[in-house]
């Protein structure tokens, strides 16, 4: 067959694509269990980090059992416990539902000093893709104890800075409810404008859309917990 002809070229391209697709599909399927396992460990590390417990991939499992273990449950918008395993709730699916139908996972963590913290998972949109995080609250269910954020593909050096301590640390001590007891969430504002405000934190210069995304995510995900948090 003429190696430079159209027929040969088309055939060559088609066969190549099918072969490559088959190889990659097989590989992706066979590696999936390992990847899921890693993702679960990473999730536990994230959850622990929101209550300021540092862990590594090796001891995350053990520490999670220690501090949280079975103390995780799912509630509905009225603050009542419902069936379900908090850890396996797929937040990506939940945030697409309306606030009334969502499952709201919550993790209770007993720290070494006897304090109980409430950890709430978050999920929202950044600039390029999904962002997520965990925010932990003190026993008063109002004051933020810690927050941690992750992202799929925000710009390194700009939006991706939401994963740094510099961005996350200021959340500690902020409050979800204002003095009259109304839910006000925490807003991410332009750098330097958050001083002294209990409901605002500094955003990232150059990462405005991601910063605002974090604020929107907090509001969107925390609103449904209002009844639970007020009890």
């Amino acid at each position: 067959m003429d190696r430079q002809g159209n027929t040969y070229t088309f055939l060559y391209a088609s066969v190549m694509v099918i072969v490559v697709a088959a190889i990659l599909a097989f590989l992706a399927q066979s590696l999936k269990p390992f990847q899921d396992e890693n993702a679960a460990v990473a999730k536990k590390m994230d959850i622990l980090k929101s209550v300021q417990i540092e862990s590594t991939a090796a001891d995350a499992e053990e520490k999670y059992e220690n501090y949280i273990g079975e103390n995780a449950f799912v509630i509905n918008v009225n603050g009542e416990k419902v069936e379900g395993d908090a850890f396996t709730v797929d937040m990506a699916k939940e945030v697409k539902k309306t606030g009334l139908d969502r499952a709201y996972p919550i993790y209770m963590c007993k720290l070494d000093n006897g304090q109980t913290k409430y950890i709430i998972p978050l999920r929202g949109k950044g600039l390029w893709g999904p962002i997520w995080g965990y925010v932990s609250l003190d026993e008063d269910k109002n004051t933020v104890y810690g927050a941690t954020f992750g992202h799929k593909g925000e710009t390194p050096g700009l939006g991706a800075e939401i994963t740094t301590d510099m961005f996350q640390k200021p959340f500690t001590g902020k409050q979800l409810f204002d003095q009259s007891g109304a839910f006000s969430s925490i807003e991410v504002v332009k750098k330097g404008q958050s001083q002294g405000d209990l409901h605002k934190v500094d955003g990232i210069s150059g990462g405005t859309i991601t910063s605002v995304g974090v604020g929107t995510m907090l509001k969107d995900c925390l609103t449904g917990y209002e009844k639970f948090l007020k009890n």
Partner: protein
């Protein structure tokens, strides 16, 4: 084609490995693949992992393209090369996600960007399309190693001077500069962590290399 068989590691073949390490180094001489050299050299560990990944991709893409070289229709050869490189990169990405999850998070987009690393396509076009599989494999090892070598040297200095630590795969962070030094007034150079210093370190390597080997100096 000559009928006599060439030894696997003949002088000519070994040269394929050694020249990219020195006189034909992809980063310092050909100035290819600079972007990733700047981005992942903050710590030693991701630099080592990326070096291994790139070497894997250069070796196997060279091998596959060399095996296919007589069948590839010349009009779509770039596309064929891209498909091969992209598939190998996806394999690397998936394997890292399964077995080196944290490193894969650190490398994030840079694993995917191996596809666009000019070294790989450059070697496919310049070497694998016109040579037999074995020399192509050696050429891949040489260029991957030449790239990785520079990456590791740069990362070594940046992490050591920037943080006082060195991170190795499987071992984790080790403090290299003892606490006593800090008590005596030594301070980490935070500037080393920032991207511009990667460029400066690469520049210093290029300078040292050219001052030792005058042949490399362009007139």
């Amino acid at each position: 084609m000559s009928s006599e068989k060439e030894a696997l590691f003949s002088a000519k073949n070994l040269k394929l490995i050694t020249t990219p390490l020195g006189a034909q180094n992809p980063i310092t001489i050909q100035v290819l693949g600079i972007c990733s050299a700047l981005a992942v050299t903050v710590k030693l560990e991701p630099a080592i992992v990326l070096s291994i990944s790139v070497t894997f991709v250069t070796v196997f893409s060279n091998l596959i393209i060399s095996l296919l070289r007589n069948t590839i229709p010349s009009r779509i050869r770039i596309i064929v090369q891209l498909v091969v490189v992209a598939s190998l990169v996806i394999i690397v990405d998936q394997v890292l996600k399964a077995f080196a999850y944290e490193v894969s998070l650190q490398l994030s987009v840079f694993v995917g960007l191996i596809i666009t690393n000019c070294i790989i396509m450059g070697r496919l076009e310049a070497f694998a399309l016109g040579n037999k599989p074995w020399p192509s494999v050696l050429d891949g090892i040489g260029n991957g190693a030449g790239y990785g070598f520079i990456l590791i040297v740069v990362a070594f200095f940046r992490e050591l001077l920037g943080t006082g630590f060195l991170t190795l795969p499987g071992i984790g962070a080790m403090q290299i500069i003892p606490d006593v030094f800090y008590e005596w007034g030594y301070a980490n150079n935070g500037f080393m962590i920032l991207p511009p210093m990667a460029l400066v370190v690469v520049g210093i390597i290029i300078w040292v290399q050219r001052s030792r080997n005058k042949d490399l100096i362009e007139s």
